[in-house]
Amino acid sequence: MKTTYHTIKQILWVSIACMLNACDSFVDVDLPKSQLTNVTVFEDYATANAALIDIYANIRDKGMLTGAGLGISNQLGNYADEIISTQNPNNPSLNFYNNSLLPSNTSVSGYWNISYNQIYAANAVIEGVAASKDLSAEQRKQLTGEALFIRALLHFYLVNIFGDVPYITQTDYKKNSIVSRTPTLEVYQNTIADLQNAIAVLPDATATSDMERVRPNKATAQALLARVYLYNKSYPEAANMASAVLNQESLFGLEQNVAKVFLIGSKETIWQLQSGNAGVNTAEASFFTFTSGPPPLVSLSDNLVNSFGSNDLRKANWIKTISKGTSIWYHAYKYKENKSTSVSKEYSIVFRLAEQYLIRAEARAQQGDFIGAKEDLNKIRQRGRLSDTSALSQQEILDAILQERRWELFSERGQRFFDLKRAGKLDSTLTGLKLGWNTTDSLFPIPESELSANPNLRPQNLGY
């Protein structure tokens, strides 16, 4: 009996000893199978590249630059004079169309938060690549160059939509959570510096690599830099940079058939966003297209459609008319495939050569080179089968370019709104045409959540 008692005692003691000592590591878990640590990601080019490429997918699907209805192609079209919305209160474009944005608007906070999330991802790539010892010099250059380009691209749109915005260049949340707004001028300087650094390391566009032009390269960064210089009124630099792109004639050229400008193989494309799965086409086409009237959500404004010359090929090819009885509606028809096709036919184009001609035309006109300006402008007009411009004075030429940009670039990521804004013509164009328009609407409100989370971003933009 004594032995039994002894055995039990032993078991109890051993069990208690085990409880207290042996099992401390029980609560360690393996890494989740669906995740990689940030260090591991940059040990290998394939995963580092995946981290970068995800930003393009993110830009394609979400935030300001998506071609879907929540992106600026539609919303800034509504905000300016390109697109009209039905008065359905469920229509997320309605507040844009009525120019009645509030600081609590979730589309507006989405633009802000998603853009900075994309910028974070770009900064994480830049930092991850810098810390990695396993990537080749060429791989480092390419990854860093593309990430710098993304960072510049997003800040450029942010500054034009919100005014002074923080320029974020690192991932440390402790610093990023207390940032102040960077003055517009400085945002431009930083954008230009990032793009110059990107141009220095990015590979040239070539005829053989990246046939579909879905990855930014040196030419893409140059195209953006040309636009940034133009907005910044650095006209000689803008003209030079546009020339740097335009001179790569073996790679890029104006697609003379208006109907083929937005197809995947268009020679005019500088950079476009690949659609993901095979056979998928653009979000623009599926959002803008409707097959019978009245339109469910948005349609092109009469004001825009009627401004086209009747024999402008762009009107015939890039705008679709839907009629019912005596009512007529229009939708943007640059992208024609609103459903999947067996092989994708169209991707969402972010930069194309026509804009570079118009940038150079404007930069030249601003510098007094009227002949050069008209030469570039007429290239675009000729493609639309329009006669050469009759503008003579600088103002006439600039007005003609602004008008041409409206026809050429409508429904493409808010170009029209930005053009009116930098030309100082928002009020004169939109007052009266848009009942809700106020001068202070030239800037969006800073999201309310952002002002309360970081008081350093105050004050709110005027008018909100």
Binding site: I8, I11, V14, S15, C18, A22, C23, D24, S25, F26, V27, D28, V29, D30, L31, P32, S34, Q35, L36, T37, T40, V41, A50, I53, D54, Y56, N58, Q87, P89, N98, S100, P103, Y116, N117, Y120, Y173, N176, S177, E212, V214, R215, N277, G279, T289, F290, T291, P294, P296, K324, K339, S340, G436, E450, L451, S452, A453, N454, P455, L457, Q460
Partner: protein, 1005 residues
């Protein structure tokens, strides 16, 4: 790349192996153990136990001062026990007075027990790892039993608790079957709104309440599907809620928000009993909003155009420009939510057994249709098995219970409530003359298009538990609980092209399918040692134990778009584009050591010490372990000599407790800096940063203090408790909102803030009348609770500066102060508190409104006259709630009827501002500020007849057969001044709770 090491894995295996051996030793020991020898002459004592009329099976007969000898009466009420002729028998049975009977040399002792209507103090209350006699407990434990649950025609376990327990606040978040409930036990402790769930334990097995659904599939519900619907209320014997430190500290890091212990039904020794219950019920929406009719609506619209200076109606203003019939009038709430849900419930149980082995097997089937249009059905079937066995020598015991539930929920994937309230009353007919969906020439979005988008959830859930125990020595018990849970849910949502206006030209190539599969399985092993002995003139109880728990959740979310035909839409393989949206395996490991020391001195002074050391995989290295503990004391002053013979005071106890608990509801892997799978681009699947990372966060600590007084008067015919508590949560684990400029909007970290929940809970139970034919008892509970943010260093400069105020509750709203409508402009005006000449955010948005209930409770009456029983419960809550937000009046959406009192012309003093069609920017801003002002909050206190049940026990000549007819109702009457729908409801745009009337029969034989 995976962090596996043999050392670590080996150690885990070693632990498991050890406990396997530990358990397998117990039967071996049984053959060697001691035989209790007595020095006295032993006699066999026999007898029959009755209540005067019927024999009583299952009664416990014990011998005073001999802990190890007891017997249970068989199904004929007979017992036999070996005892000394000078011993005294202790005869006890739940619901009867415990009786002491000296043997005095007799061989046959027949016993008649007295029915005890009020002496619930003898009931043993489940406290999780141990049970305690209600009179001797030191902690705060609220309890409801199957008696309360059976009278309620509800399918969710949380619904059964509404209004019945002090300190427990339950809110239903949707009236759609299969939806969720929100429960708060003694208020909100964590600043993180999803970190306030209690710990659920079913028959000893922790049951993860984290959502299993996905917001991509379960769009019918305001929150992703909760697994708690798998628990079948019919199967529950009792629910205990542990509230204070004394009761919860033994659950350590998971006890901060209280513990819900669910005990399922068990078989009882005696004749095999069959029980069949069947009921059928109808459910309708409790309250609708009062909306405008066509005449009022069109008048509003016309005036809005006039106000905006528009002389012509736009081509898209179909409601008013003549496109739609101006005389049509549809009550869309009636049309879309006015249906009747039909509910049927069938349940059968067989139970019985011998003295050593008892069993219970039951099955149930429940269906509920919908108040929405269309044919949708929620089905739930379940089975429960329970088996108890003890060895001949009563040393070895085995308890096994297993429950399996299967749910199939078929719902429209879109709640029609929003449409029902916003559609213009003159919107077109739902169907055209030929019975097809009417799109009225594309002038509207027919709400019934959403009948085509279907949500189906299939959930199977198994919970099994085995408890093995062996009494090694008298007073020393080795015990191990082994639990297993396995849940799998499969949710699908389809969005076929037929949900879109045909004018959009969509065909099946735009149809979409969303799939969500969640599998969650867990095991738990809890070896324990119980030791008890008499020490001095008191009793000492010691419990030591350990927990090892492992839970794995697999989630797979997929989508498919583009089908060659809509009839293939459920086949992901037929999708043109199939995507895996999420594929993850989450492992949660948890380990703890716990102990309890209880000393009971002469049933007068009781001290209860509990402690737990916890480790959780949710925290990073170095932060995984923490200690928790509590002290509970009780003084049963009614057992003191100076009070013992006072006839008016039958029970008196003062108890108190203090201790710490924790909270680890932060999600898994949050301490890692990782990339997770992103989206495909150019043939490559992206990698995306998962989060901003912070590896240093640790436990949230919750310190609880409670003092309570329990008093029973006149043989406990009046029994009352009053508890005062104060809980303080610090080291708050929160996703701190960050500015978007950081790239994310949240960061997990410990915040040095303290939240206090304090309150008074009061319960009163009275037996108002008690006789052979008529009985009347009343239960009343009342809770005053106050939630308060005590400290928050740096609140001013923190992201919470616009959300919280020190000294105020967490659930507050900071609002603009509404001044009224400007009689000249007709626009809402607000207090310019900082006097800068305009309404500015955040300076002027500082008026504070507390949305926590000030007090709440319930009053339940149970009356029985002969064979008729009436049970009813009134629930009451004093609170404020937001008004139902409808947007600016004058646009193409319906409004509440009260908006007819809007401002019309200069000089008007009106409660509501000018109508606008959407062009009046000032009015739009005014409306948006109004929604953020104190005018958008109104009193939503209510008294509700939560439950009423009438039961008639039909007299039958057959012996031992019982036939009952039952009429039950839920949410039948609501008294409130709140005008915007159901007052308890906060999920705007979703279906409010239903009013249910049920009729059923119960047959027992």
């Amino acid at each position: 790349m995976n962090n596996f090491s043999f050392y670590k894995g080996g150690k885990t295996l070693y632990c498991l192996f050890f406990f396997g051996c530990f358990l397998s030793f117990t039967p071996v020991l049984s053959s060697n153990s001691f035989q209790q020898q007595s020095n006295f002459q032993q006699n066999k004592i026999q007898g029959i136990i009755t209540d005067g009329a019927n024999v009583l099976p299952g009664v416990t007969i014990a011998i005073k001062s001999k802990a190890n000898s007891s017997a249970i009466s068989d199904y004929n009420g007979q017992y036999s026990i070996t005892a000394n002729s000078s011993d005294t028998l202790i005869v006890s049975f739940i619901g009867y007075k415990t009786t002491l009977i000296p043997i005095k040399g007799r061989k046959t002792v027949d016993i008649q027990l007295q029915y005890d209507t009020t002496n619930l103090q003898e009931v043993r209350v489940n406290a999780g790892y141990y049970s305690v006699k209600s009179s001797e407990r030191t902690g705060s434990i609220a309890r409801i039993t199957s008696k309360d649950i059976e009278t309620q025609p509800v399918s969710n376990v949380l619904a059964t608790m509404q209004g019945r327990m002090a300190g427990v606040n339950v809110i239903q978040s949707t009236g759609v079957p299969g939806g969720g409930f929100e429960i708060k036990i003694r208020g909100q402790n964590s600043i993180r709104s999803d970190g306030n769930a209690p710990l659920y334990i079913i028959d000893g097995v922790p049951y993860a309440s984290d959502p299993i659904g996905s917001s991509r599939t379960a769009t019918t519900f305001p929150t992703p599907t909760s697994p708690l619907n798998s628990i079948n209320p019919d199967m529950i014997e009792s629910i205990e809620i542990l509230k204070d430190a004394d009761a919860t500290a033994i659950y350590g890091s998971r006890g901060a928000n209280g513990v819900v212990l669910i005990t399922t039904k068990k078989g009882k020794a005696g004749k095999t009993t069959f029980n069949i219950t069947a009921s059928t019920a109808v459910g309708t929406v409790t309250r609708f909003l009062k909306l405008m009719d066509t005449q009022q609506y069109l008048a509003m619209r016309k005036k809005a155009f006039v106000n905006d200076g528009l002389t012509e109606y736009g081509p898209l203003d179909y409601d008013i420009n003549g496109t739609w019939d101006q005389n049509r009038n549809t009550d869309w709430q009636k049309e879309l939510l006015g249906g009747t849900a039909e509910i049927t419930n069938i349940q059968g149980t067989v139970s019985g057994g011998s003295e050593s082995t008892q069993f219970l097997v039951s099955g149930s089937y429940y269906t509920e249709s919908t108040v929405f249009p269309g044919d949708f059905l929620y089905k739930k079937g379940g089975t429960q098995l329970s088996l108890n066995h003890r060895s001949e020598d009563k040393k070895f015991r085995l308890t096994f219970s297993a429950g399996y539930t299967s749910q199939n929920n078929n719902q429209p994937s879109f709640d029609f409530s929003y449409d029902a309230r916003s559609l213009p009353p003159n919107a077109p007919a739902l169907y055209d003359a030929s019975g097809n969906l009417n799109w009225e020439n594309s002038t509207w979005e027919n709400p019934l298009r959403n009948l085509n988008t279907i949500f189906v959830a299939k959930t199977n859930d198994l919970i099994a538990n085995t408890v093995l125990s062996y009494e090694v020595l008298p007073g020393l018990l080795l015990k191990s609980s082994l639990g297993f849970t396995d849940l799998s849910t499969n949710e699908t949502r389809i969005v076929p092209s037929t949900t879109a206006n045909p004018a959009l030209g969509a065909d099946s190539s735009t149809s979409a399918l969303f799939l969500n599969n969640t599998d969650r399985s867990s095991w738990i092993i809890e070896p324990q040692i119980n030791w008890r002995r008499e020490l001095g003139t008191g009793k000492l109880e010691l419990l030591l134990g350990a927990t090892f728990q492992n839970q794995i959740t697999d989630r797979l979310q997929q989508s498919g778009t583009g089908f060659s035909s809509n009839s293939l839409i459920y086949n992901l393989a037929a999708a043109k584009t199939a995507r895996v949206l999420l594929n993850e395996e989450i492992q949660y490991k948890y380990q703890a050591f716990f102990g309890r020391l209880n000393y009971n001195w002469q049933q007068r002074y009781i001290v209860n010490l509990t402690a737990r050391r916890d480790g959780s995989s949710r925290f990073g290295p170095g932060n995984q372990f923490a200690n928790f503990g509590a002290v509970g004391v009780a003084w049963l002053f009614s057992n003191e000599n100076f009070l013992k013979h006072r006839s008016w005071l039958s029970f008196g106890k003062l108890r108190g407790s203090y201790g710490t608990t924790g909270n680890d509801q932060i999600g898994d892997y949050q301490f890692l800096n990782t990339y997770t799978t992103g989206v495909i681009y150019n043939g490559i699947v992206g990698l995306r940063p998962s989060r901003l990372y912070n590896s240093n966060f640790g436990w949230e600590t919750n310190k609880k203090l409670e003092v309570a007084l329990e008093l029973g008067f006149l043989q406990d015919r009046i029994f009352t408790t009053a508890a005062l508590y104060q809980n303080r949560s610090s080291n708050q684990l929160v996703g701190v909102p960050l500015p978007g400029t950081t790239g994310f909007t949240l960061l997990q970290s410990n915040l040095d803030a303290t939240v206090e929940n304090a309150g008074i809970e009061f319960t009163l139970r009275t037996t108002n009348f008690s006789s052979d034919t008529f009985n009347w008892t009343t239960n009343f509970n009342l809770t005053f609770a106050r939630n308060k943010l005590i400290s928050f260093p740096g609140l001013e400069s923190s992201p919470y500066s616009q959300q919280y105020r020190i000294g105020q509750p967490l659930n507050i709203e900071l609002l603009y102060k509404f001044k009224g409508v400007n009689p000249q402009t007709g626009i809402y005006e607000f207090e310019d508190t900082n006097k800068d000449g305009r309404i500015s955010f955040p300076e002027d948005q500082q008026t504070l409104v507390d949305l926590n209930p000030q007090y709440y409770g319930g009053i339940q009456n149970q009356l029985s006259y002969k064979r008729l029983t009436l049970d009813f419960l009134f629930q009451f809550v004093k609170q404020k709630n937001r008004n139902y937000p409808m947007g600016p009046a004058g646009m193409m959406t319906n409004q509440q009827e009260r908006m007819v009192n809007s401002w019309q012309q200069p000089g008007d003093t009106a409660p509501y501002q000018i109508y606008t069609t959407g062009y009046n920017n000032d009015a739009l801003i005014g409306d948006s500020l109004y929604a953020e002002s104190d005018a958008a909050i109104s009193d939503a206190s209510f008294i509700r007849l939560k439950n009423i049940a009438l039961t008639y026990d039909v007299p039958l000549s057959l012996k031992q057969t019982q036939f009952k007819i039952m009429l039950q109702g839920q949410n039948l009457l609501t008294f409130t001044s709140y005008k915007d729908g159901d007052p308890e409801f906060t999920s705007y745009g979703f279906l409010p709770p239903l009013k249910v009337i049920s009729a059923g029969v119960q047959l027992t034989f």
